[in-house]
Amino acid sequence: MTTNISSNGGSTVRIDVNGTHYRELNGLIREAVADGAQRIDLHDVHGQRYIATNLRTEAEIHIHGTPGNDLGAFLDGSRLIVHGNAQDGCGNTMNEGEIIVHGHAGDITGLSARGGRIFVREDVGYRAAIHMKEYEEKRPALVIGGTAQDFLGEYMAGGIVVALGLTLNGENCHKASFVGTGMHGGVIYLRGHINEHQLGKDVGVSKLTRKDRTILRDLVTQFAAHFGYDAEEILASRFIKLVPLHLRPYGRLYTC
């Protein structure tokens, strides 16, 4: 097991990860950041967890291979670019920064995110964007190129989810059920079709306003730029907007 670190003497560092334990790897990343690295390339990543967690830097980290669970947990400003698939818990409780996945992402992508942006070129697993939050200008966004498994946006308290359905074929219908169960904040934009029975009981369908279109255009343009799509072509399709029916879904649950 060897870890090869090479630097061009400037601001780019390359780390050949191989079998390096995540603790050591994160140490190396922190060291590189402390030395002023602006770009770090991780090669041969094989499931190491917690890559770049709580890294206070605006450095760009390119991940080649498959990062493990909790990629960018508590992320605070870095930009992570995964050239491959991400596993579960990608962007867990992230605060600031950007995660761009050139492939799929697993379950609970963007769990409890409070800020920052996640772009996934293809699909995400179960319970993506669960309990995302927002506060004033701090508004996290998860943009999914394809579709999601069940419980997308469960318990959402804020933030923006976009699922573009680009991996759907035929009927162009999303497969997820229980979308937005317990949702009491935030918004989900879906391109493609979804049946009413697939929605959580706390979710309503509404029309996109001009403000929604501005938000969508901004996110889809960024998505298209990351992955080489034509934003206008995507935006030309019909979108559905899902919003919570109540800010207090369980307000009538109790007797004092």
């Binding site: 917690y50 579960d88 609970i108 409070r114 009491h184 207090r248 369980y250 007797t255």
Partner: protein, 501 residues
């Protein structure tokens, strides 16, 4: 709908003492007193009285007495008044019965059946007034063995991060939202002064409390409110909240009414929305997943501080605790059946979980049997009333205890169980800005520090009486306990002999 509930309390107003000054009217946040200007008289609305005694304490002429309504139903062993009235409440409200504070049912309080030892003749007792006594406690993972460098006699073993506290009593998790900032600040200042820690609960750490962060335990719970890198960085240690003694297995809902602008900013959710903490943490469905979050937090803080995992004491606590320790928890917190809360469904609070005494004993025994007791400290919680309970808990195997209710009582709480209404007349379990002013952090901190000082002195007295001069020597030393009025099965779980044996 007319309520069929009879008043629970009677307000005795002594006319010869009452000067109609209206202090009671202003103090009561439940509208049990009202001034009638026409007759220049104070009237009582007893159906609104919750028995919190705010009015009688503040009445300048002692003109008020609040007592239980003696109104009796026809005696019936099965249909106790509480069950009748619960049904009335539900038939009028149609919801889950909500209550506050800890389990008030007559389950056995084992502390009252455990007795401490004292030295007589064969070994001397120690007088703590003249001899040094050590209460200092180190929380965190201890190594299996320590290695010294023979030349320099310095420690070669790399120690895991430890947190030292001067008194083995910490303040339980109480979130901003459930209680107000003045209460949190009182506890924060008391903790700082007394050399212990306060737990911010899951509502985040308000900006004004960052200066006390070195004495703060921050929670990462299922709602993940207010969790961000700085919050993790500044804390003394981090607690992953899996469960709570008052409501094992369920989440929490801070009603939108309590989510003020300031609470919203600390939790980072829009004001007025319900703050929902789901029942499970959605990234934890197994011990392996727990390990993943523990190490996520350790990675995020670069292994500089212990990570604690808190669970409610339930049937399989011992096995679960073993898994928690193996998952990497440096501290485990056990919250027992009588653990308190700002709001819980009554059926859950009163019927789910196991007593903390049995949980401490079974967890400590299990971890010892597996040879991993040193790998985690144990903090016990759930209804600790006085220093004797603390000493008994430590003798049973705990490293320290959490107190919540006891600290709030020091601030004025009378355990009237109205916390979920948000109308606390003592200004504790409310975020109402006017009511919140009733707790002054200067006075609050002083009252809580006084309490801890009293308990510390008492703990030293009890230790000295047993001939022990360091709390460390009592930890898990169950030979210093004897049971009275307990069955063989109970003694067996507690690992304690019957008094006289």
């Amino acid at each position: 709908m007319k309520t069929y509930l009879p008043p629970r309390f009677v307000i005795d107003r002594y006319a010869e003492r009452c000067i109609a000054c209206q202090v009671c009217v202003r103090q009561c946040s439940f509208d049990a007193h009202a001034y009638d200007g026409e007759d220049d008289e104070i009237r009582s609305y007893e159906k609104n009285c919750v028995g919190c005694h705010r009015c009688s304490v503040f009445c300048p002429t002692q003109a008020l007495n609040i007592r239980l309504n003696p109104l009796s139903y026809r005696p019936n062993v099965n249909w106790q008044p509480e069950f009748i009235e619960d049904i009335i409440r539900q038939s009028e409200g149609g919801g889950v019965l909500l209550t506050g504070m800890g389990n008030d049912k007559p389950y056995r309080v084992y502390w009252d059946h455990l007795l401490l030892n004292a030295s007589q003749v064969t070994n001397p007792s120690i007088d703590p007034l003249r001899e040094p006594m050590e209460l200092k406690t180190f929380l965190g993972r201890k190594p299996d063995r320590v290695e010294l460098d023979p030349a320099s006699l310095s420690l070669k073993t790399q120690l895991a991060p430890q947190v030292a506290i001067d008194v083995p009593v910490l303040f339980s998790a109480m979130s901003y939202g459930a209680i107000n900032l003045n209460v949190q600040e009182s506890l924060a200042r008391a903790a700082t002064e007394a050399g212990t820690l306060f737990n911010v609960g899951e509502g985040g750490l308000h900006q004004t409390l960052y200066k006390y962060a070195n004495n703060a335990i921050v929670q990462v719970a299922s709602g993940r409110f207010g969790v961000h890198p700085e919050y993790l960085d500044v804390a003394r240690f981090i607690e992953i909240k899996i469960g709570q003694g008052a409501k094992p297995g369920i989440g929490g809902h801070l009603p939108g009414g309590k989510v003020s602008e300031d609470v919203a900013e600390t939790r980072m959710i829009p004001a007025g929305t319900d703050a929902l903490s789901p029942a499970p943490q959605h990234d934890i469905y197994s011990i392996e997943d727990l390990a993943q979050l523990i190490y996520a937090l350790k990675e995020a803080t670069n292994y500089t501080k212990p990570v604690c995992v808190k669970i409610a004491a339930v049937h399989n606590s011992a096995a679960i605790a073993s898994g928690m320790v193996r998952a990497g928890a440096d501290i485990i917190a056990l919250d027992g059946l009588r653990g308190s809360t700002g709001a819980a469904p009554k059926m859950i609070r009163d019927n789910v979980g196991i007593p903390i005494e049995l949980a401490i004993a079974s967890v400590d025994t299990r971890l010892r049997e597996e040879g991993i007791r040193n790998q985690a400290s144990i903090i016990a919680a759930g209804g600790f009333r006085n220093s004797a309970d603390v000493v008994k808990a430590i003798a049973l195997g705990a490293d320290a205890v959490y107190i919540g209710t006891a600290a709030l009582i020091a601030l004025g709480c009378t355990v009237c169980q109205q916390c979920p209404t948000g109308k606390c007349a003592w200004g504790i379990a409310t975020t109402d800005p006017i009511l919140s002013k009733r707790v002054n952090p200067d006075i609050g901190a002083r009252r809580v520090v006084n309490l801890l000082r009293g308990w510390s002195l008492e703990i030293k007295e009890m230790l000295g009486g047993m001939g022990i001069n360091a709390l460390e020597s009592l930890r898990g030393n169950r030979l210093h306990l004897r049971g009275v009025d307990l069955t063989d099965g109970e003694l067996d779980v507690l690992g304690v002999r019957l008094a006289g044996r």
